[in-house]
Amino acid sequence: MEEHKDRASSSISIALIGSGGAGVMTAGSMLLEAAGRAGLFGIMTRSAGPQIRGGEAAAMLRLATFPVESHDNEFDILLAIDWLNADRFRAEIPLGTQSLIIGETDAEPPQAFTDSGARTLELPLKQIARETDGGRENMVVLGVVCSLIGLPLEPLHQVLESLLKRKGQAAIDSSVACVDSGAAHTGKHQGSYQLSLSSEKQCDLWNISGNEAAGLGAIRGGVRFVAAYPITPATELLEWMAPALEQVGGILVQAEDELASVNQLIGASFGGTPSLTATSGPGLALMTESIGLAVASETPIVVVDVMRGGPSTGIPTKSEQSDLNIAIYGLHGDAPHLVLAPMSVADCLFTTQWAIHLAEKLQTAAIVLSDQNLGQTRAIIERPADVAFVSGRSIQETPMEGYQRYAVGGNGVSPMALPGTAGCQYTADGLEHAPSGIPSSRAEDHRQQLDKRRDKLVNHDYGDHWALIEGEGEFAVITWGSSLAPVREARAMLLSDGIDIRIIAPRLLLPVQPERMQQALAGVTGALVVEQSHGAQFFHYLQAFYPQKFEFMSMAQPGPLPIRPEQVVADIKTRGKY
């Protein structure tokens, strides 16, 4: 109990459930925003039934006094406006004996939840809402939660005011009234999940999703052209970029399909404009032929794959790290390219911006593997630092006698002439070519150009950004992307038991960095590979590219369930023999 209280004072997890029309998503977003205004960090993820409208939905939040990137092992508060089909969320909302289930008076919570041994509380949500003219239960719920966690109502009032402005003062007033009376109905439970709020002004905080962060990273990196075809869960990235690009003098084109979008990028980039698209697994599959064209013709492009459950249409709304193989191996021929993976919401910004910088600088294609979890998580984070990465493509700006677009030598990057530059006309080609660009099937030319395209990537110094490395121990956990967050949390839990582990999470997946990995693994005697894929794709990748004297152990779990820190802890304890 004491322990619970301690944890609770720094981090609280809340799930709001309700079926269509209940407005739990709106309530969740408002709560997150209010918490941010109160100086808290937090994340919010969402889950929903398959119905387009009217389906059951869950907003899952974690609010904390420190930056958080993933959900906790358990939820502290589960609050349902109704329980219709709510048991579908059982696996996503784990509860414990210290959890509190709150529901409408006389509406029995599903056994799936009560089996956890959690306490229950009934509140007349409907009736409280009805007492206010135009009152809504989701606003009552907000008041209830604020009271339980001790969040002052003032920031929430502000949020209501700014978000409901266009609905008029009456709407604001009734929402405020509902919030206040909800807060007044918690009785002895008031403050029972009190978060310790610091009175100091927090650093510069942002409320942003991973998809938005990737979009902002793209624009900061110099992207001014996007062509794309909508696909869940990448659509929001595109929706954010369309107006944002216009503001900076760029444009987003909705293309007829992914074949068109990737090829439009190639055209725009050939003309000198840094270009990017966002898609998900099915779209990436369609694009692969032309990503190879970008590689062969040395035309920089960036493809952000916001991964979802696969194969085929799979589970579009849920996360999985199962496009690693197609990103690494999916191009036909020997096609060296860049594969990068952000590992937090904030890192979506950095990694996307870095990917653009690298693609432009190295004149190749970059695939950025984000996922639904990162992309659609909305988080309160510290403002990401500015980084100096901008496009920086090597351009042949002046006429040049005997210009060769694919000249070999040096670091492998050959200056690119843009249309409009007199005297440098050439034809970019996906056919193997001589240095001039003229098609050639000669062995020497093929060899030379293959070497060129490989060497320019391999010889580049990617610096410390290639991976995140944390901790000391002789036991390592190697992970990537959104799986890093639960692994870090697991490390924190182990540290309190006096166990340290070493975390290695490569941000740069291709080209591989054997020397750097060797350095990172110095002194390590065993390693667990944690990933969200059924086929243990990352594990096999590590075995293939980073073979070690010790055996890698695999903890591979398919989506849609997120990996929980305590799972990682348990696995480390058995496999690491602690």
């Binding site: 084109v253 068109a260 050939f270």
Partner: protein, 282 residues
């Protein structure tokens, strides 16, 4: 005939040719189309460095490297999106896309329709030989259903041919014409008109594959000029197409459909302004 004297500085058709020699079969209609391209460019006195010719894959799609302009030899069927991406971001360039009937109407068929719809200011030239030359003579979308010499369709395709002009008109192309490689000068004229007309211009050039369809050498005798002037009325054009025998040569349609020209006016001072939306006001 205009009476200005030819300036010595004027570019001649051969100035638009590169030093790369075509791999085509002697006798292929594409040689004539290449000549028509150079003549059209010379007639317009285009700066070679401000022209980009983009193609897909096929015999005909080899054309960019034979020209002394910027070129992009992309993958099979995807030349149009490459051209669209380029033209949207570089409206200062003259963008032309070229390729074959397989490239444009089969694997790239959807892009063809969508490019007509989008109506970006560029010119698309299809060298139609009613066959896949590059892969040794299979039937293409424009092949007659009873042509039995395609090895993958020994009994003929037995499916309806694709009518590119009809599709172009229905999909929104703003300029539609047919030319013949038998008359490179006439083809040059049509290409010139196509480039000069705003929006998406589509030119089908009947260009025989003498290797896999030697009978197409007879096209010379079959083609005939259309005895009409181009119309701006899609309904009139549609009616004319109903009696088209696929061998009328000439410009069918010069529309007034508004080209897609997005604006590029930066409105925010810098990318940093975009951050304000995310900032929490405590």
């Amino acid at each position: 005939m205009d009476q200005t004297s030819t300036s010595t500085a004027a570019l001649k058709p051969k100035d638009y040719k590169s030093d790369t020699k075509p791999v085509w079969c002697p006798g292929c209609g594409d040689f004539s189309v290449l000549s028509a391209f150079t003549k059209a460019m010379a007639a317009m006195q285009l700066d070679p460095e401000r022209v980009v010719v983009i193609s897909g894959i096929g015999c005909s799609s080899r054309i960019p490297a034979y020209l002394n302009v910027y070129g992009f030899h992309a993958v099979h069927g995807r030349a149009l999106p490459v051209g669209i991406g380029l033209k949207i971001t570089r409206p200062d360039l003259t963008v032309m896309v070229a390729g074959g009937d397989g490239d444009g109407f089969s694997i790239g068929g959807n892009h063809f329709m969508q490019a007509c719809r989008r109506n970006v200011d560029m010119t698309y030239v299809v060298m139609d030989n009613q066959v896949y030359g590059m892969t040794k003579g299979q039937a293409s979308p424009t092949t007659e259903p009873d042509w039995e010499r395609g090895k993958l369709t020994p009994h003929g395709t037995r499916i309806n041919p694709f009518y590119p002009l009809v599709i172009a008109l229905a999909s929104g192309a703003n300029f539609i014409a047919r030319a013949s490689s038998n008359d490179p000068n006439g083809a040059a004229r049509v290409i010139t008109e196509a480039v000069q007309h705003p929006g998406f211009s589509f030119v089908q050039i009947l260009s025989p594959c003498i290797t896999f369809r030697p009978e197409q050498r007879d096209w010379k005798k079959i083609v005939h000029p259309a005895p009409v002037v181009a119309t701006a009325d899609p309904a009139v054009a549609a009616r004319r197409l109903m009696t088209d025998d696929n061998f009328f040569i000439g410009t069918l349609f010069k529309g007034e459909r508004v080209p897609f020209t997005p604006e590029f006016e930066p409105r925010a001072e810098s990318a940093h302004e975009l951050e304000t939306a995310f900032r929490m006001s405590a």
